[in-house]
């Protein structure tokens, strides 16, 4: 497979990507720096236990004083998926609609490259960028865990990080599909973000209402966190579902872009 468009895309955005890496590492470092303090303060857990269920649903319902609970509540429930998704959805939305809005698509497609190739290479660039962010997160977590005496296994860190990355790539693929269908970057970002938010709430709130309980397992957030990867490691079924969503969305993107007019 040729990757000229993919590498061009990564090179054009290398400064932004480096910024993302640094920001992510610094945030992780700060979060981890509080671990020794939290670990020695069991009052937090007593406080959490007294919260009403609806609030517990949002703060994670996990004891803060265990490494798994702390990492999940502070990083993997909100912050990591939020940051990963901002990055990935932005890239996915930009992939096709961005070139059209900047009016460079005519030039690109005047060369003998198929539209399928453009979509696939652009998504590959998003996957590689996401992979770099995931790598930075795992390395930072592993190093800072050792630094601040947190007892957590590498496999669990990798499992949770890959889950967050695949979750984000699934929604990036949604953004890509809209980007490839409609040539509107804003619409692609809005659609993917709205679906991601809905998925988050479905996963958090479904357990509270009997009528919704059965639907929790349809949320991509559940596929990512439902199996508690920080405790139980890889959940291949959940990860496979995330990959399947991404694959279907990328295929949709190719089909839609192949069929339509390039906008002026």
């Amino acid at each position: 497979m040729q990757l000229d468009i993919c590498f061009r895309n990564l090179r054009d955005k290398r400064r932004a990507l480096i910024g993302w890496c640094i920001g992510l590492a610094v945030l992780t470092l700060f979060t981890m720096a509080f671990w020794p303090t939290i670990k020695g303060t069991p009052q937090y857990d007593r406080l959490l236990r007294r919260l009403p269920d609806t609030l517990k649903a949002f703060v994670g319902n996990q004891p803060l004083t265990t490494p798994q609970g702390y990492l999940q509540t502070e990083l993997f429930l909100y912050l990591v998926p939020l940051l990963f998704m901002i990055y990935a959805i932005g890239r996915g939305a930009d992939a096709i609609a961005g070139e059209e809005e900047r009016k460079t698509m005519d030039l690109l497609l005047s060369t003998p490259v198929s539209r399928r190739r453009v979509v696939l290479e652009k998504y590959t660039a998003t996957v590689l960028g996401m992979g770099l962010l995931a790598l930075v997160l795992v390395v930072t977590l592993y190093v800072t865990a050792a630094l601040f005496n947190m007892n957590i296994g590498l496999a669990e860190l990798v499992a949770a990080t890959i889950g967050a990355a695949l979750l984000s790539l699934a929604f990036a693929a949604v953004a890509l599909a809209v980007s490839s269908s409609a040539a509107k970057r804003g619409l692609a970002i809005a659609t993917a973000s709205a679906l991601a938010t809905a998925a988050f709430f479905l996963n958090s709130l479904a357990p509270l209402a009997d009528s919704l309980k059965a639907f929790q397992k349809f949320s991509p957030f559940y596929w990512y966190l439902g199996h508690s990867p920080l405790t139980n490691g890889f959940d291949f079924k959940g990860l496979a579902l995330l990959v399947a969503v991404a694959a279907v969305m990328v295929a949709t993107a190719v089909a839609r872009f192949e069929r339509r007019d390039v906008s002026v």
């Binding site: 000229d4 054009d12 009016k103 460079t104 005519d106 030039l107 497609l109 060369t111 003998p112 007019d261």
Partner: protein, 300 residues
């Protein structure tokens, strides 16, 4: 000669808006074809259909004997394209852009890119965002020609080029046609391309309303000639009935004559009197061109 570009009843509607309708166009190998029409007439619609950027509502088009829908990749390998609304990757230098496009075209190096850039006086080391409009247009021209394509589709190619560069560009077009490539040049101003085209087609409201040899168009062109005589009693009647003469106006020593086609008879007639100066004005093909529009709108 074979057709390099051939459209058959090519029609494109954007929703209910007409882009082009039932457009039959044929451009031969080795030919420079001027595609004329005001903005919004359907020039870019035709051109973008040829590159499969947009898909016809009905009808079809062939480039080098290949179907624009089915064989688009094979076509694009042999076509050079200069977009009408040219936007380049602003962060790259000219060289980086050419190298990128060359890799996508899978050609050696940048093909003829360096020679072309030198010819047009283009510095490839500067970032594109720092280039003037004219220099950006040069980058666009270089990328369209660098792989020595068999067909060139140039949408408003001379926009922003200064006169010296235009001259060099016209040379380039002539040479490329001599090598057997077909060139389609669109413009909304005939004077920009009349020196290089062999034939012109006029598109108006989505329809091809006329195709003319440029020489035939020139023959129909009207020129205005001002003749100043030594005496002020030269009779206008002596010129009124000469072949091609349309209008004669006399102001003392000055005689203003409007002539269609060759001016031979007029000059010979004038020579019978003592002539002080003869001033000719460039034949205005634009006027001929516009007369098609007038005829058409009268008919409609």
């Amino acid at each position: 000669m074979d057709a390099a570009i051939k459209t058959t009843k090519l029609t494109k509607f954007y929703g209910n808006t007409r882009g082009i309708e039932d457009l039959d166009l044929e451009i031969l190998k080795g030919e420079v074809f001027g595609y004329l029409g005001p903005n919004g007439a359907g020039k870019s619609t035709t051109i973008r259909s040829l590159l499969d950027l947009i898909r016809p509502t009905s009808g079809h088009a062939e480039v080098l004997g290949m179907d624009t829908r089915r064989d688009s990749l094979a076509i694009r390998r042999r076509v050079g394209y200069l977009p009408g609304e040219l936007v380049l990757y602003e962060t790259l230098t000219g060289r980086e852009l050419l190298e990128y496009l060359a890799r996508l075209r899978a050609i050696e190096g940048v093909g003829a890119g360096h020679e072309l850039a030198e010819r047009l006086g283009l510095d490839l080391n500067r970032p594109i965002r720092s280039l003037s409009k004219g220099n950006k247009q040069k980058v666009g021209v270089v990328q369209a020609f660098m792989h020595s394509p068999d067909v060139l589709v140039l949408d408003e190619p001379t926009s922003g080029l200064d006169p010296l560069v235009q001259h060099e560009f016209h040379q380039l077009i002539a040479e490329t046609a001599e090598h057997g490539s077909a060139l389609l040049l669109s413009s909304h101003v005939l004077s920009e391309i009349e020196h290089v085209t062999h034939r012109v087609g006029i598109v108006r409201r989505g329809h091809l309303v006329a195709v003319e040899d440029i020489d035939a168009l020139k023959a129909k062109a009207v020129s205005r000639i001002d003749i100043t005589f030594a005496r002020d009693d030269v009779p206008a009647d002596a010129f009124n009935h000469l072949p091609g003469v349309r209008e004669v106006a006399e102001h003392g020593q000055l005689l203003t004559v409007t002539v269609e086609g060759p001016v031979d008879a007029l000059v010979k007639a004038a020579a019978r009197f003592e002539v002080v100066t003869i001033k000719t004005h460039e034949p205005d093909l634009e006027e001929v061109f516009l007369s098609y529009y007038k005829d058409d709108s009268d008919a409609a």
